[in-house]
Every structure is written in structure tokens, then in C-alpha cells.
């Protein structure tokens, strides 16, 4: 790859070879020198062009022009659609009479595509994403038109330069480029002379040069006109059937070119146009340095004539030679950098010297990268190379972005080059391995050869990619579509081995009736080498977390929770989920890879919570559980009162585990909770794989089930926060998994399931009740469907019974308010439903109580996600009847759970039922994941199906996030919002809580609004009075503007010592529906914010002192009212 060059950067083919000619190495050097000569000529003229631009225009306009030309190059390259490289391969096979119309058609298609892209991309970037720095390139109609035309022309010449190598000669390509470059220089001089000062005037000169060079090609190739049979200007049938091949070339070429094209755009967009001037100049100069190493690799590719061994043989010379040249250039430019940059001007030398010194280091990793690409092209493994390089391209750009945010242009250069070095380390591994195999005499692997392939160490024996036998031979079964042996066909929990004379396994639909697991599709025998997907997928997920980190940083530092911030956030989510969704469904992927990637995705989603809020608990439920954790830590005792939600005290499993981690490791409360939640998420992912794979006997179905489960609307938010259900749900899945995989026939096999059940019961009431109910239901199904197999039914009874006993023991704990707690939920849900039926809508379908709702695109995602889920569920539930016919009890239970899916979206018609529906999502989706994964795994894996599944799962996940977590803007941090949970936790609230912790007596009774009250307890160590714990509704203290006897009575009755007021509550309606709690003063029919007078009324009350003020929060000592 040769950076800094504005001409064609596609791998140019070598000139025709003389079979009786010089040796292989001499051929490589001849080809390389030819390419270098072309490069040198155009680079010198290009350098001259930019030097004139730097002298005749301001640095800012230089930066604009440089970014515009780079964008033109990138979009133009995208617009070629791979047609240039395709023509090189296709034209020699095309009849002479049809060549010219084929070329004209390809040019026309490229021109149209590039022009369209050049219109759409800048429009989206400037007007939708708000990247204002790019407005100078295409912000006005005139500039936008110029940019579009110039980009269309760029695409045309990119294709033309490659086509003329077949129609004409390599010399014609050189001539065209020289004419174009010379004309650009002349045009630029002319524009500068007439006083043009616009950066886009420089761009216009570039376009003029391109236009002028086209007639030259037409003239020089006029001899072919007589041979053409078609007079049509364009004939699309000439390109018919070539789309896939073109796209394959296109993908690799685009991937290789895009980082260098995008870097100047990144500098302009994230830093400034002025900063791009020295950067662009330095990048131009690196083109000279990288020319030879790049040419060496291209020469290597061309001279190899399709034989990978030739590449591997010559690499011993070309790699050291390339590295040596690059190193020499690096050493030379260390002292010379400022002097070389002086060509552009003194300010370029001053600002760009360090940048040039850093950028030129990229030559070293480029040597490795270019050789990797050359090897993969010769091996015909371009798809694999594209996949790997796409991931690294994203990594390079991410590294550049990180560097830019940390250190400006220099930081961007360091970040990009740093990632390149990491990339070289990774890409060197396959080069070294291939070379070692070549050296040891093994045949070089290619993408075209079929046959057995090594195994990556699978986890499941019944996957087609079975383990290598211990004698080291490669099982022949791998090359054939053998069904699993009969002894493994039936899932026989009695472990009775099949005896002689046992009837052969039936096939077809009746087989599915008897054992639906039988019809899980085996993968076709591998026809070509498997694409290593695990590593790139994991790196992509990590890049997704990085993108989310950027979004969070941008939201916090700029206060902007829209536009580019949302794009970064959504991109991050896509990068986490999409690779897993693709890999689990992709054909010829080892079981270990599927499982690893699927589980890694859900763990990464859990980590995204830490990225969002890395240092403390932020959400409502997190804070009330954090308060319980504090109480347990302070007292060392269980069942102490948690006034924020008393029921949590009686199910302290989460806090106990976190307290244990904290006390044993010495880590802080939040860090300990992060570790616990990550472990819980790992258990959840693994547990789903084990359960589904155990039932379906397909690791692929298990991995797919994890991805489907991730589409559960509460995956990202509710089931990720520090709340008891977050631990209980994974433990529940663990209970089922260890029950299914227990040692049968021995009582000790039940120890682990019973203990796991007990852990669930002490952690969360509803999860425990549902788990016990599930085991009871399973027991009933076992009796009804499986003809009363006593062993299994007995084991179920033991586990269910243990759950009931422990549940009853917890319920019998004095003070356990579970009955009233659940009763209140039922009451409020019923009330809301009644209101809905009577026409008194309690919840806007797409808005919260502050009137904030999802944007139109989010509504599309949300509704689309529901539709996709239903579309997947309907056929899978229909097919899942087979599990009942097969009398498979655990599967039947999961199918019944899946049938409950409508509860989730249906609950959103009313506020109280919305909460119930959301909390049910975590359970119901276990069933949904099972049925959909099993149904999908019944179909043979193909790339097309994998692509559809990947897209559908990613889309559904994003829509589910909107349903469960709210709008993207609400998910992100940002400026304070009234009663908006995490968006209401800010420096003012935290400062007040910290002050309370040090200045007020511990566990003093305070009264405050929703968020301030949570912080006062969790951080401030106080006892926040709430109706749910005291039975006293003291909300008028803060919400009523009038002070009277009722207020005094409330203070005395509740024993309130301090009242904490957040004056900002008067700024708006509460985003969470209430300022304090459900049923509060003034909540009925509220349409205006709480009056400011209500928040200031204690200022004039005798006996009340305002003892704390931080501008937003005031604390009143009301103990005087108690006298």
C-alpha cells in the first residue's frame, strides 16, 4: 500500500512475462522498478501540485483541499465497485469486439455510482450528523456539485487506468497520469493567478486535470474502434453475472485504501482544516518512502503467477529488503523531516516535522501487511484477507481517533502507527507459519483445495467438526455428510445403551416427531479452509466498546446527546452484537468459535454498562441495592431495614456475594459489583449454551440461542444493573443446566442443583418463585408426557421441594413484606389496566411522562424489532409442537415459556404493566431463545442464511434496546434532567450526598426527592423516608408550596430530621413520572412542574435552619419542628 499518492492505488498488474526471461527475483525487481517509475513521475508532479497549493493558498484552504481530494479518492474508489480490477481479469477473456463497450459500460457504472455517493455521503455527514468542519468541502450547492463531479471523474479514471493495461499498455497509464498531473499544476497556477482563494478551487484544478487527460486515452486507443461490434455507448448486459467477483475485488481494494483516504478527513473533522495542512503534506511525502516496499510486494504477487510457493520462496528476500528500505528512510527522515517539509513552507516544517517522523514509521508494518495481502491474493483467499483487514481498518481508525482525542495531530499519527505495528505482529503470524510449512516441505494451503482440515479444539463431540482421534489420523467422516451414530441419536436420560436389534432410526417427518433434536442440520463437509473468525470478532467487539466509550466521552464533554454521539453509540452496539450474530450462524465454524463469540458478546454488553458509568452506581435500582450493600458492610448483619425498598433486605444474595468479593479482595463496592455482574453474565451465557445444546444436541443451536437471548429488551439495561434479578436469573439458568447435566442414578448428582436453587431463592423472590414453578411444571410434564419415569420425576421433585422449603423459610423471616410488595404491584397494574379499558390512557405509547419519546428512526427500530421477533416466533412455535409429540419435557417447558412473549410488548400499553412486562422479558426470552435457535439450526447453514440472521438479530437487538432502555439520548450521559435517574446524578447531587456522609449523624431520617433521596442513603449513609417503608406519604413537604400544620405533623410522625431540596425540580416535569414516588402530592393530572415556592418554603419557617447550600441542593434541619 502506497500512502500519500492520489493516483490509482489498486494493485496494478504486471506487464506480460517472457517465459524464457530472467529469474523470478529479476522479474520481481523489473516489475517493481516499472511501478516505481510510474509512481515517481506522478508523485513528483503531485508534490509539485501540493507545493504550489501550499504557497498560493492559506493553510486552512490547503487543509480543505487536501481533505476534499482524499474524500474524493475514497468515495471514488468506493464508486468503482471493483470494476477496475475485474476488467483486468475479465477483458482478456472477452471477445475483442466487445471489449470497448464493456469498458464504456464499466466506466459509466462507476461514474454514476461514485457521483451518487459523493452527493449522499457529504449530505449525511454535514446536515444529519452535524460535522460542521466538512461544510467547506460540500456545504454549499456549488461546492457539492463540484465535489460530486470531481468524484465521478476520479472513479472513471481509476477504472480506466486499469482497463488500458489490457486495451493499450502500461505506458498509456503512465502517459495519462503525467498529462493529468501536469494539467492540474497548470490549472492551479492559473487559478492562483486570477485570485482564487477557495480551498475547493484547488480541488477544481484537480478535476480539470482529470478531464483533460481523458481525450488522450480515447485518441491512443482509437485503433480498436474498427474491431468493435456494438455501437452502443453502454450495454449493461456486458457486465451481467460479474457482480459477485467485482464486489470481492472491491472489498479488498477498498479495505486497503480506506485508512489512508480517511485519515485526512478524520483530521479535518475531529481537529481542524488547518491542522490537516501539515498532516496532509507529511502524508504526501510518505508516498515516496513507501513506494519501493509497495512495489516489491506487487512485483512479488505478479511474478508468482498464482503459485504460493513462489511467494514464500521470494519473501526471504523481499521482506528484509522492504524492511531495510523503510528503516533507512526512517533514519534519514529523523533529522531531515523539517527540511523536506520546507518545500511546502516554513509553517509546514514547524508543525509537520514530528508528524512526518511518526508517519514514515508506518513503512515497516506496511511491508508485512503488503506481503500478507500478496500471499492471500495468490492463494485465492481474498475473502479471508478482506475480513481480517476490515477489522484492522476499523482498529486503525479507532486508534487514530483515540490518538486525536488525546494528543491532536501528533496523537492521531501515533495512534494510527501504533495500531499498524500491532497489526503487523498479528499478520506476521500466518506469514511465518506459511513460510515454516514451505520450508518443512508441506504443500502450501490454498483456498481452492478441498479436503480435511485441522480442528480448532471443539467443545462438543456431537458437532460435525469433531475432535481429531487420538491416533492422530484425520477422520474420514469429516469429508462426508455422515449422520451421528445411532447410539447418539436419541437423548436417552436413562443412559440405556442401544442394544442389538434395535430398530433403525426413522427418518423424515416421523423422525422429527420422535426426536426433534435429530433434525438439527449437520453442516456440510468443509470444501475450503475455514475462515478464522473468533479473533476478528473479539477485536470487533472490543472496538464496539471503544466506540461506545467515545460516545460517552463526547456526551459528557460536549453535552451533545444527539447526532454523531448517537451514531457512535449505536455503532458500538452494532460492533458488539453483529459479529456474534454472524459467526454463530456462519457455515464451517468450529463449535468452540461459535460458543466463544456468542458468550463474549453478552459479556461485552455487560461491560458496556461499565463503559457507560465506570466509577459508581447510577441507576435507581442500583442505588437502592447499593444502600443495602452499605448497610450490610456497616453492620455485618443481614436483614437490616432498607428504607428505599424493604423487600430487598430479605433477599440479600446479590449484596452478600458482592460484600464477600469486597471483603476478600479489598476492592471497592462498585468494582466488586462489576466483577460479580461480569461473572453472572458469563454464567448466563454459558448456561444458555449448555441447556440448549444439551436439549437439541447442537452446539450451534446453543450459540445461536445466546444471540437470540441478547435481543431481549432488558439485556442492555435492566438485566445488567446492580439489582437482585441480575444475579438471580443467571443462577436460575445455572440450576437448570446443572440439573440437566447431573450425574444420574446417584443422590450426590442433585447436590449442585439443590444448592443452586437455594442460591436463587436467597437472591430474588420472583425469580425463585418462577424457578420453583418451572420445576413443578416440569415435574407435571414429566408425569404427563413421559409415562411417569420415576427417576427423573423424583429428581425434579427433590429440587422443587428444596426450593419450596428455602422459599418458605425466607418468607417466614419476620418482617418479610413480599406479600404486600407483590400485592402493590398487582394493584397498580390492575388500576392502570382499568384506566386503559375505561379510556383514561395512563401512558403515552412512545413517550415518557415528561413528553420525551423516541425519535422516528427509533420508533421504526422498535416496531421493526417486534415484527422480526414475531416473524421468527410464529414458524418456530409451530414447528416446536414436535417437542410435545417427542415427549421431551424440558423442551416442552421452554416452548410454553416462549408462548408468553406477547406479555412483553403488550405490557407497554400502561405504565405499571410496562414494568411488569419488562421484568418478565428476562424469563420469557429464555423460551424464545430456545425455540428460535432450534428452529433456525434445523436449516443447513449457508452464508446467505447467516447474513439474514446476522442482520435480523442485530436489528432486533437495537429495537429491543429502545423498547427496554428508552431513547438513545436517554441512555447516554449528559446534562442534568429532572427526575431522570442516572441523568439526575451529577456533581451537585453527589456533593450533597458526600457532605451528608461526613456532616450529618449516620442514619438520620431525611426526606428528599427520588434521586437525591437515593444518594442520601447509598452515598450519604442516611435513612431516606419513603412511603414504601414507613407507610407515610410525606411528599407535600417538598411538593406543596404551602407550609402548615400538616407538614409539621408529617415531620413528627415520620421522625424526619432533615429535608433535602433540589431546586432544579422546578425546571421541568419528572422524566420518570414522579418527583419522589408513586402516588405523591400533586401527581394526579400534573401538567406543570413543581412550583419554585414549594422548594423554598422552609426558608421562612421558624425553627427550620438551612444548613447546606451548593447552588442546586439545599438541606434544611427541621428538628426544631419536633419540639
Amino acid at each position: 500500500m502506497s500512502p500519500g499518492v492520489s493516483t490509482s492505488t489498486d494493485p496494478a498488474p504486471a506487464p506480460a512475462l517472457d517465459p524464457s526471461g530472467p529469474s523470478g527475483l529479476q522479474r520481481i525487481l523489473r516489475i517493481s522498478s516499472s511501478l516505481v517509475g510510474t509512481q515517481a513521475a506522478t508523485s513528483v508532479l503531485g508534490l509539485l501540485f501540493w507545493t504550489i497549493a501550499s504557497r498560493g493558498f492559506t493553510t486552512r484552504q490547503f487543509g480543505v483541499a487536501n481533505a476534499a481530494v482524499s474524500a474524493m479518492g475514497l468515495i471514488g474508489a468506493l464508486g468503482t465497485l471493483g470494476l477496475g480490477t475485474l476488467l483486468i481479469a475479465q477483458l482478456p477473456r472477452t471477445h475483442q469486439a466487445l471489449r470497448r463497450v464493456t469498458v464504456r459500460t464499466a466506466l459509466a457504472v462507476a461514474a454514476v455510482a461514485a457521483t451518487l455517493l459523493a452527493v449522499v455521503v457529504p449530505f449525511v455527514a454535514i446536515h444529519l450528523l452535524g460535522i460542521g468542519n466538512l461544510a467547506e468541502i460540500a456545504g454549499s450547492p456549488a461546492h457539492a456539485t463540484l465535489f460530486a463531479v470531481g468524484t465521478g471523474l476520479a472513479a472513471v479514471v481509476l477504472v480506466l487506468d486499469q482497463a488500458v493495461l489490457v486495451l493499450g499498455s502500461g505506458r498509456l497509464q503512465l502517459e495519462r497520469n503525467v498529462v493529468a498531473s501536469a494539467t492540474k499544476v497548470a490549472a492551479l497556477l492559473a487559478l492562483a493567478a486570477v485570485g482564487a482563494t477557495d480551498g475547493m478551487a484547488i480541488f477544481a484544478a484537480w478535476a480539470v486535470g482529470t478531464v483533460v487527460s481523458l481525450p488522450l486515452v480515447a485518441h491512443r486507443t482509437r485503433g480498436g474502434r474498427a474491431l468493435q461490434s456494438s455501437r452502443r455507448l453502454v450495454d449493461l448486459s456486458a457486465l451481467q453475472g460479474l457482480g459477485r467477483r467485482a464486489l470481492s475485488h472491491h472489498a479488498l481494494n477498498t479495505t486497503l485504501q480506506s485508512p489512508l483516504m480517511l485519515l485526512p478527513v478524520l483530521v479535518t473533522a475531529t481537529i481542524s482544516s488547518s491542522a490537516n495542512a501539515p498532516f496532509g503534506a507529511a502524508l504526501q511525502l510518505t508516498g515516496f518512502v513507501f513506494a519501493l516496499p509497495y512495489a516489491l510486494s506487487i512485483g512479488l504477487f505478479a511474478a508468482a503467477e498464482g503459485d504460493p510457493r513462489e511467494v514464500l520462496r521470494r519473501m526471504r528476500v523481499t521482506v528484509p529488503l522492504g524492511l531495510g528500505v523503510s528503516l533507512a528512510a526512517d533514519l534519514a527522515l529523523l533529522p531531515l523531516a523539517p527540511h523536506v517539509l520546507r518545500i511546502f513552507g516554513a509553517e509546514y516544517a514547524a508543525d509537520g516535522a514530528d508528524v512526518l517522523r511518526i508517519l514514515v514509521l508506518a513503512g515497516l508494518p506496511f511491508v508485512v501487511k503488503d506481503h500478507f495481502v500478496a500471499l492471500r491474493r495468490v492463494q485465492g483467499r481474498t475473502s479471508e484477507a478482506t475480513l481480517v483487514l476490515v477489522v484492522f481498518t476499523v482498529a486503525e481508525l479507532a486508534g487514530a481517533l483515540v490518538g486525536a482525542s488525546l494528543g491532536g495531530v501528533v496523537g492521531l499519527s501515533v495512534g494510527w502507527v501504533g495500531v499498524l505495528f500491532l497489526e503487523a505482529l498479528v499478520l506476521a503470524v500466518p506469514l511465518v507459519r506459511a513460510h515454516r510449512r514451505f520450508r518443512d516441505g508441506e504443500p502450501a494451503p490454498t483456498g481452492r483445495r478441498a479436503g480435511p482440515v485441522p480442528v480448532d479444539g471443539p467443545l462438543w463431540k456431537d458437532d460435525v467438526d469433531a475432535a481429531r482421534p487420538t491416533d492422530g489420523s484425520v477422520p474420514a467422516a469429516r469429508a462426508r455428510l455422515d449422520p451421528p451414530p445411532a447410539s447418539r441419536l436419541l437423548w436417552d436420560d436413562d443412559a440405556t445403551p442401544p442394544g442389538p436389534g434395535r430398530a433403525a432410526a426413522p427418518t423424515g417427518e416421523r423422525a422429527a416427531d420422535r426426536d426433534p433434536a435429530r433434525v438439527v442440520a449437520a453442516e456440510p463437509a468443509p470444501r475450503r479452509r475455514r475462515v478464522p473468525l473468533t479473533g476478528p470478532a473479539l477485536l470487533t467487539m472490543a472496538l464496539g466498546l471503544l466506540s461506545m466509550a467515545f460516545a460517552v466521552d463526547r456526551a459528557r464533554t460536549t453535552g451533545d446527546d444527539g447526532g454523531a454521539t448517537q451514531v457512535l453509540w449505536e455503532l458500538g452496539l452494532v460492533l458488539v452484537v453483529a459479529p456474534a450474530a454472524l459467526v454463530v450462524a456462519w457455515p464451517r465454524v468450529p463449535a468452540a468459535a461459535r460458543t466463544t463469540v456468542a458468550v463474549a458478546a453478552v459479556v461485552a454488553l455487560q461491560l458496556s454498562r461499565t463503559v457507560l458509568y465506570p466509577t459508581r452506581f447510577m441507576f435507581h435500582d442500583e442505588l437502592l441495592h447499593a444502600n443495602l450493600l452499605r448497610i450490610i458492610g456497616d453492620t455485618g448483619r443481614l436483614f437490616g431495614e432498607n428504607p428505599l425498598l424493604p423487600i430487598t433486605s430479605y433477599y440479600p444474595g446479590l449484596e452478600v456475594v458482592t460484600d464477600g468479593v469486597r471483603d476478600l479482595t479489598g476492592l471497592g463496592a462498585h468494582t466488586s459489583s462489576v466483577l460479580v455482574l461480569l461473572a453472572a453474565r458469563l454464567v448466563l451465557g454459558l448456561g444458555i449454551v449448555v441447556v440448549v445444546a444439551r436439549i437439541t444436541r447442537s452446539a450451534r443451536a446453543g450459540a445461536i440461542a445466546v444471540v437470540v437471548y441478547a435481543c431481549n429488551p432488558q439485556m442492555l439495561f435492566f438485566n445488567s444493573q446492580f439489582s437482585y434479578q441480575t444475579l438471580a436469573l443467571p443462577l436460575a439458568v445455572l440450576t437448570v443446566a446443572v440439573f440437566l447435566t447431573r450425574e444420574r442414578g446417584r443422590r450426590r448428582g442433585l447436590v449442585l442443583p439443590v444448592l443452586a436453587m437455594a442460591a436463587v431463592v436467597v437472591t430474588h423472590h420472583v425469580t425463585a418463585a418462577l424457578l420453583v414453578a418451572a420445576f413443578v411444571g416440569w415435574f407435571v410434564l414429566e408425569l404427563v408426557l413421559r409415562r411417569r419415569r420415576e427417576d427423573e420425576a423424583g429428581a425434579l421433585a427433590v429440587v422443587a421441594g428444596a426450593g419450596v422449603v428455602v422459599f418458605a423459610a425466607m418468607l417466614a423471616n419476620p418482617g418479610n413484606t413480599l406479600a404486600s410488595y407483590l400485592g402493590s404491584i398487582v394493584t397498580s397494574s390492575s388500576s392502570d389496566l382499568s384506566s386503559l379499558v375505561e379510556g383514561r390512557q395512563t401512558k403515552a405509547l412512545f413517550a415518557n411522562t415528561a413528553g420525551v419519546g423516541p425519535a422516528p428512526w427509533e420508533q421504526v427500530l422498535l416496531i421493526g424489532a417486534l415484527l422480526v421477533t414475531v416473524a421468527a416466533l410464529l414458524p418456530s412455535l409451530w414447528a416446536a409442537r414436535a417437542w410435545f409429540r417427542a415427549r421431551h419435557t424440558p423442551a416442552a417447558l421452554l416452548v410454553l415459556v416462549a408462548v408468553l412473549y406477547p406479555v412483553i410488548p403488550g405490557g407497554h400499553v400502561a405504565r405499571a404493566t410496562a414494568e411488569v412486562g419488562d421484568r418478565a422479558a428476562g424469563f420469557v426470552f429464555l423460551g424464545v431463545a430456545f425455540v428460535v435457535a432450534w428452529w433456525f439450526a434445523r436449516h443447513a447453514p449457508t452464508r446467505r442464511r447467516a447474513g439474514i440472521f446476522g442482520a435480523a438479530a442485530t436489528f432486533t437487538f437495537l429495537g429491543g434496546v429502545v423498547l427496554g432502555s428508552g431513547t438513545v439520548a436517554a441512555q447516554l450521559p449528559g446534562p442534568f434532567l429532572v427526575s431522570a435517574d442516572a441523568r439526575s446524578v451529577d456533581a451537585d447531587n453527589l456533593a450533597a450526598a458526600d457532605w451528608m456522609a461526613t456532616a450529618l449523624p449516620a442514619d438520620s431520617r431525611v426526606y428528599a426527592d427520588r434521586v437525591t433521596g437515593l444518594l442520601a442513603a447509598a452515598d450519604g449513609g442516611q435513612f431516606t423516608v419513603r412511603h414504601i417503608s414507613t407507610g407515610i406519604d410525606a411528599s407535600r413537604l417538598v411538593l406543596s408550596p404551602d407550609f402548615g400544620e400538616e407538614d409539621v405533623r408529617l415531620v413528627r410522625e415520620a421522625g424526619i430530621r432533615y429535608v433535602v431540596v433540589d431546586r432544579r425540580d422546578a425546571f421541568g416535569l419528572p422524566n420518570q413520572g414522579v418527583y419522589i414516588e408513586s402516588g405523591e402530592f400533586g401527581s394526579d393530572g400534573r401538567t406543570t412542574p413543581v412550583p419554585a415556592a414549594a422548594l423554598q418554603k422552609f426558608d421562612d419557617v421558624k425553627g427550620v435552619d438551612r444548613i447546606y447550600d451548593n447552588g442546586s441542593i439545599a438541606v434544611y434541619d427541621v428538628s426544631g419542628l419536633d419540639r
Binding site: G535, A542, A549, G636, L682, V762, D1105
Partner: protein
């Protein structure tokens, strides 16, 4: 194709005692570190290693392969913590670092001893075995190591970016409070994260007898205490403002 082992045979790779000894040593070391209140840099890694070694030793007895081992190892650790903690919390010992360390040490050592004494799980039917071929697994791990390291590095960078963004945005406001109030004197404390410059402290009972105190200046991250005079009855407003500004920066009220 290999045939499944006979039902009563022990697995070929029977679990040896070495792992149990190592795990036991780590458990004792970790417990000691906790009881001795050693720095978190020592306690945390030792504790996590001890948990991992004990879990790895115990799950090998199940003989169901890597996936099951990981699930049961991690899940079992969570279960053990939850139930042990419940027992501790219900007992007079309570939940403290020392009691945690002792209790889990006992549980771990007992389980390790049982694993030494009792035979491993009876041979599992072939369809229950999750296959893990060590040689291939190690090779695959080496092949993926660069990617995993790169992913880990990127994740760390993401967390660093996230943490830096939180510290950048959290500017603690200027705070004013009454530290003590007795008789006619009140101690007023003004604190700030960033240096405030000159501030005027005033008390105003509303009857025209406002008192202005010497200008104070709060250093960055510091606080300044000033004793002010307040009436024994009646209302007085205590304010701090920027010099020359009418609107107060912060306001306290004493209303007796």
C-alpha cells in the same frame, strides 16, 4: 470413531492430587492475606487465584469438558459465596473480612479434601462428554492469542477513555454549610474544588444590621471556616457572594 467408555470405568485422565495441594496452598495464602489486611494489590490476585484453582480442581471431577467446567466453576463460586455468606450473616460471626476468609477457607479445604478422598464422577455417557482435546486447544489458544491480547488492550483503552470522561465532567460546586450552631455563634464552612477567588461573607438579620466579614478565599480542593454571630432568636441569612455582586452565590438561613 472411539466407543464410549464402559459405565463403571474411571475416565482415562483421572484427577491427580497435585491440583488439590496447589489449590489448598493458595486458599490458605489468600485467607492469610485477607486476615492480615494486606494491600489490595496482594489480596485481590491471591483471592481470585485461590477461587480459580479450587474451582478448577473441583470441576474436573465432573468430567464433562471445558464448557461445563467453566460454567460450574464460575457459577459454583457464586453459589458458594451466596450460601456461605447467608450462613455467616445468620450466625453471630457476621459478615466481616476475617469471617469471610475463615469460612470460605474451611469450605474450600473441605471440598478439596473430599475431592481427594472420593473417586471422580462415574464415567459419563459419550453424549454427555464435552470434548476438549488439549493439544488442539492449546494450538488454537496460541493462534488466537494475538487477537485476544489486542481485544483486551482495546477494551482497556475504552475503559480508560470512559473513566477519563467522568473525571473531566465532575466539577464539585462551591458548598456552604453550618458546621456547628451554639448560642450566638455559628461556624460557617465554605469549600470548593477550584479556587474561588475573593468572596464576601455576610450575615443579615433583615433589620438593617447586616455584618460583612473579612474577605475569604477558598483554595482549590480546600475549605475555609468562619465563625459568625447569629441572634439567639429570630431569622438571619448568611450569604457568600462575589465582591460587588448583589445576588448571593450561596445562602444559609438560621431561624430560631
Amino acid at each position: 470413531m472411539t466407543s464410549p467408555p464402559a459405565v463403571d470405568e474411571a475416565p482415562a485422565d483421572a484427577v491427580g492430587p497435585g491440583g488439590a495441594v496447589v489449590a489448598a496452598v493458595l486458599v490458605v495464602l489468600a485467607a492469610t492475606a485477607v486476615v492480615g489486611d494486606l494491600p489490595v494489590g496482594v489480596r485481590a490476585p491471591l483471592t481470585l487465584l485461590a477461587v480459580a484453582a479450587t474451582a478448577a480442581r473441583l470441576v474436573r471431577h465432573r468430567g464433562r469438558g471445558g464448557l461445563d467446567a467453566l460454567l460450574v466453576g464460575v457459577g459454583g463460586s457464586l453459589v458458594a459465596l451466596a450460601l456461605t455468606g447467608m450462613v455467616l450473616g445468620l450466625s453471630p460471626a457476621g459478615l466481616h473480612p476475617g469471617t469471610w476468609a475463615v469460612a470460605l477457607q474451611v469450605v474450600a479445604l473441605v471440598c478439596l479434601l473430599v475431592s481427594l478422598v472420593r473417586p471422580p464422577t462415574r464415567a459419563v455417557p459419550a453424549e454427555d462428554v464435552v470434548d476438549a482435546v488439549p493439544g488442539d486447544g492449546r494450538r488454537a489458544a496460541l493462534r488466537h492469542a494475538p487477537w485476544v491480547l489486542a481485544a483486551a488492550a482495546v477494551t482497556v483503552v475504552a475503559l480508560v477513555v470512559a473513566v477519563r470522561s467522568t473525571t473531566a465532567g465532575e466539577d464539585t460546586p462551591v458548598q456552604m454549610s453550618i458546621a456547628s450552631l451554639a448560642g450566638t455563634q455559628a461556624v460557617v464552612v465554605v469549600s470548593a474544588e477550584e479556587a474561588t477567588g475573593a468572596l464576601e461573607l455576610r450575615t443579615d438579620p433583615g433589620d438593617g444590621s447586616a455584618v460583612t466579614y473579612p474577605v475569604l478565599s477558598v483554595p482549590a480542593g480546600g475549605s475555609v471556616s468562619t465563625t459568625v454571630v447569629v441572634p439567639t432568636t429570630g431569622r438571619v441569612v448568611v450569604t457568600v457572594s462575589n465582591p460587588g455582586q448583589v445576588r448571593p452565590l450561596r445562602t444559609l438561613v438560621v431561624n430560631r
